[in-house]
Amino acid sequence: MKYRLESRLIMILMLGSIISLAGCNGNSHENGESSMDIEVNGKINAQLTSPPFVPDPIGSRPAKQVIVDMEILEQEGQMANGVSYIYWTFGGSVPGSFIRTRVGDEVEFTLKNHPDNKLPHNIDLHAVTGPGGGASSSFVAPGHEITFSFKTLNPGLYVYHCATAPVGMHIANGMYGLILVEPAGGYPKVDKEYYIMQGDFYTKGNNGEPGLQPFDMQKAIDEHADYVVFNGATDALTGDNAITAEVGETIRLFVGNGGPNLTSSFHVIGEIFDKVYVEGGKLINHDVQTTLIPAGGAAIVEFKVEAPGTFVLVDHAIFRAFNKGALGMLKVTGEDNPSVYSGTIQEGIYQPEGGIIQTMPGNKGAPEAPIAQSVSERIEMGKQIYARTCLACHQEEGQGIPNAFPPLAKADYLNDDVERAIAIVLHGKTGEITVNGKNYNSVMTAQSLTDEQVANVLTYVYSSWGNSGVEVTPTMVTKVKSSH
């Protein structure tokens, strides 16, 4: 009886799946022609690029057989200043090489596992319709290669990743990337295209702890990320690595989220996305401030940059941006456009009643930090703190960000008054100040640093970029602290 019931159940299930299969026969593109039937003509080698760059647009190219040759490399790289990590990569970068195809292409995919690698790997491409997205036919031991092929049926932006046990660990170590399947005729032309992918990392040492940091399984299971970054490292899209554009250009970002755990609230500070290809598919939404990108998902965002300046890319789950590294920069150069952005027009006094708690509850039990024994040691230690705490706003060379964050380099406001500078680091600063003749009206929160750390970071700042060179000692810091 039980058997019969089961078989009936199976029958029903099978029927159901037949119906649902029939329902998805619409793997069709605009003309209503099935993608399955698109004929391929000729053979080309796929151009693969490392982030933040993407291969040339497909445009009107007919469907072809596309040869993709990808090498898996397990290699050490820099996660943050002084922090390194053994990344597992598709093509030597995190995220892996960008693959660009069009609908109807027949992709012949060769996956090579470098002989120096220690582990077997495979690849699951979300663009593949077939068991495991190719994973079961691409399982490859170190020192071996494997070839499989698939036809791209549905246009869109898709994540690929390694699916070898333990899957979470392979993804957490950087094994993800994007494959784009353009619709027939391609996407509308834009001026600049870039490739960005968010990922969360779990290290044995906490955020900022220097040295080679191994993967921490427990933190990964608990979803306690130490780093949330774009393109595999905190500085992958900042400073000299920032992506660039000219005023008036239209920019298309192919944004993915490798996870393994966290969903991204992708936002560009100071921009509104004119168009978002929601979840990387066909649906287009307009005038979007923040778009959600799930782990193992992607989105295409487009916007025209109307004003020059540095636009900051963030995961707007904002502690990830300022404390875990999910921060990138788009530098736009060109003429000011006052009709779009005027700068400050009027300032007033805002004085609500009552105070606001500006300091975080003390964190007792934190490990003892080392104490600098000389000025040079103080500068060295201060540099590390600067990279972790100040660099995001005040920038690598202390140049700040125009109209947003004041410069520290050759800054009169800084050099004129050491005690004021100490007080600002200790207690934060809100409201208008004038630095080197320019007005800034911004918020800097109080930094939770020890007196020793405040002394170190300020000494570093004073000794750099043409500043006065004064040494700030912990005693000076303590004195400023107690005077308030």
Binding site: S136, A165, P166
Partner: protein, 257 residues
């Protein structure tokens, strides 16, 4: 028929006398058997492992060189391709020469399963089974079973991620409870029945009870979802074939007690 047996026996002796020039057998340590729960087993049933002996160290380059000097059919250019693919002894300079910069006391790698099996047979030993190997490898420095020691597990995972450990000297990691060195942190090791690991590499599917693929599909779900180190070992075993020769894969021998 009787005659035939005699002839076989005679020839057997003859062959021993001609080729049995085995170097001094490598030192072994006794491992106490017991029940253990394999990562992939039938439902959650335990398996029994008898007492056995296991080599104290992984087999070294020098020991393997001595072996092939006496067994030309296992030399780099002589090996039959059914027994080893083109990466066999990849870094060696010749049939009787290690590669430049190869440390004689590092573990031998780039050897196939067939070759490892022949080496052990020559010392009247065999490769350990997956279950035997796993049982011995569960021990840390002080306990025969450190499975639930999270620090030990974290250490193993870290060692698996560390590159180029194959070039270290044998004995350079740690000696476990049984007196055996380098079970983790140096190289992966061949086991006699490594091809009993039926994972396809599509780990999310591997828990599936697919009777089309396997006679008893339910048998392949993992017993401990938190044992990442074991997942890595089993995934590795599932990805290899007996004629593969891999830079981070060596072996040690076992013997029934």
């Amino acid at each position: 028929m009787v005659k035939l047996k005699y002839i076989i026996a005679f020839l057997g002796l003859f062959s021993l006398s001609l080729t049995g020039i085995c170097q001094t057998p490598t030192a072994m340590k006794p491992i106490k058997g017991g029940t253990m729960l394999p990562l992939y087993g039938l439902d959650s049933s335990k398996v029994w492992v008898d007492d056995f002996l296991l080599d104290e160290y992984p087999v070294t380059n020098q020991q393997y060189l001595d072996f092939v000097k006496n067994y030309p059919e296992w030399q780099k250019f002589n090996v039959k391709s059914i027994f080893a693919d083109g990466n066999y002894l990849y870094n060696w300079r010749g049939n009787r020469q290690l590669g430049e910069n190869m440390n004689p006391n590092s573990p031998i790698t780039n050897v196939s399963w067939f070759a490892a099996k022949a080496f052990c047979a020559c010392q009247d030993k065999r490769l350990p089974s997956v279950d035997e190997w796993e049982l011995a490898a569960k021990a840390n420095e002080t306990k025969p079973n450190a499975e639930n020691d999270s620090l030990f597990n974290q250490r193993i995972i870290e060692s698996y991620e560390t590159p180029n450990t194959y070039s270290k000297t044998v004995g350079s990691t740690y000696q476990n409870y049984w007196g055996v060195y380098d079970m983790h942190g140096l190289v992966w090791e061949w086991t006699s029945d490594f091809n009993s690991v039926l994972i396809s590499g599509e780990s999310r599917q591997d828990g599936d009870a697919d009777r089309n693929l396997f006679c008893a599909g339910a048998a392949i779900s993992a017993s401990n979802l938190r044992d990442y180190a074991a997942f890595m070992r089993y995934a590795f075993r599932g990805s290899i074939k007996a004629d593969y020769n891999i830079k981070n894969l060596g072996f040690r021998c076992a013997r029934t007690n």
